[in-house]
Symmetry: C2
Subunit: 301 residues, 2 copies
Amino acid sequence: MSLTVVGSIAFDAVETPAGSRDRLLGGAAVHFSIASSQLAETRIVGPVGDDFGPDEYAILHARGVITDDVEHIPGGRTFFWAGRYHRDINQRDTLKTDLNVFEDFRPKLSDAARAAEVVFLANIQPELQREVREQCAAARFVAMDSMNLWIDIAHEELLRTIASVDCLVLNDAELKQLTDEPNLIRAAHAALELGPRAVIAKQGEYGSALITREGFFGLTAYPTGDIVEPTGAGDTFAGGLMGYLAALRGEIDDAALRRAMAYGTACASFNVEGFGSERLYGLERAEIDARVAELERISAF
Amino acid sequence: MSLTVVGSIAFDAVETPAGSRDRLLGGAAVHFSIASSQLAETRIVGPVGDDFGPDEYAILHARGVITDDVEHIPGGRTFFWAGRYHRDINQRDTLKTDLNVFEDFRPKLSDAARAAEVVFLANIQPELQREVREQCAAARFVAMDSMNLWIDIAHEELLRTIASVDCLVLNDAELKQLTDEPNLIRAAHAALELGPRAVIAKQGEYGSALITREGFFGLTAYPTGDIVEPTGAGDTFAGGLMGYLAALRGEIDDAALRRAMAYGTACASFNVEGFGSERLYGLERAEIDARVAELERISAF
């Protein structure tokens, strides 16, 4: 099945205890598609400026990502983000956010992108996410991310968008903030009441949890001691998750969602082991499968 | 097999969003033994004052806890702790800590307590923990807890004690603090270097992780939306864990430790659903087994 992701394409500058980089290919839709494309054909929808050139396209094409829907804004500059990670890599400070061409982005999807059966709405204004969702009327499974900013300043709009998707993927803290409920289980059930049939809480170093009307699933993070730079780990998780679902022939039920989360977790573990998504550039499918198998072993008792 | 636990016996006063209590039976060794006694015969070692009377003994005896090694200090008062929980129940403030008879506690074990095959050293001064460990020379499995205070003010002493046990059970944050290593996997491996063959990181609402030289195991918390008061959840977890191991006839290998953690997780989930350990007072073994079976289902993919 085909997969479309809509979201940011960016350059990132990062400082970490392991070193610095001033120009990494980043952005939610990029991290997502570099992971998902290993599992299913992926179309990326997002805006870039004049500074986004053949080198960047080459990275995406090498992973098989279809870039026909990348929108080039002449005279514009690509979204830029700079951050500094602490010694505890779970802590970071944002140093700079230049939205640039992303500020006025209105997604325009080609017929091929609209025809996707599986769609991921990465973190953008909820109103734009809903526009995309409505364009993809044929999709059998649509998931979305969001962030604290929209929970604060576009709450009602966000609730309407959540009502239109099948699956909400948020950080643990965002899910609690969205529902004003400090207990994860209650927060997730409150989010289910908004409309989606699945809620996935990303819990960083602790793993992730799936909550549906059928039940609960908790999955540990892949245990890696080699964390270099975690930007985009959440989007990479979503990429592995949705890539697995897009490749699936059968029904997207709880069992499928559980296995999809293992794929997301495996992909995210590679993401954090290098700068940007670099660790995934040359990654073989068999390496992802091996970590999924390892996740099965380390979760069983 | 027999099980001995050494640690605090206390009265707790708590304020929570669900109500207040000014005199709950508490203390690490109490929370532990009320859980462990459901699985294996448990002897509790700890000091009490004149205010600890027949009602408190009756609670312990009803669970089958052997109290011969409870040391009554005439004229003394029992350890008292008061705390206030926030709306986010993972946050709390300590309002009062009166060590009372616990301040000068030096564990004196009866022959029966020393003969235990499985021993848990709840959080007390590391020097006292080591004295107990040396008295229990025949034990086949000894585990210990500790806290940030001892990591700060008795670091070398604590390292020597850790070297003398089989298993270190700490909060995630304490493990990172002990080893000065912000990554859990690296922190756990640094802790293994100190001597124990197993390290268990308690991660509160996220679950727990086991790290041994053989590998890693990550277990979700039991998903409960009904959290009333979580004091003693970590000690209850240790009680379920060690109770399972004490009842085990076979070798205490990684497979046994994994299943033991599921018993700890199940017991802890009951602890948080009531004030103090009250939810466990009338608990049947079958109810614990049912949650362990549920944990298996919600961890599998």
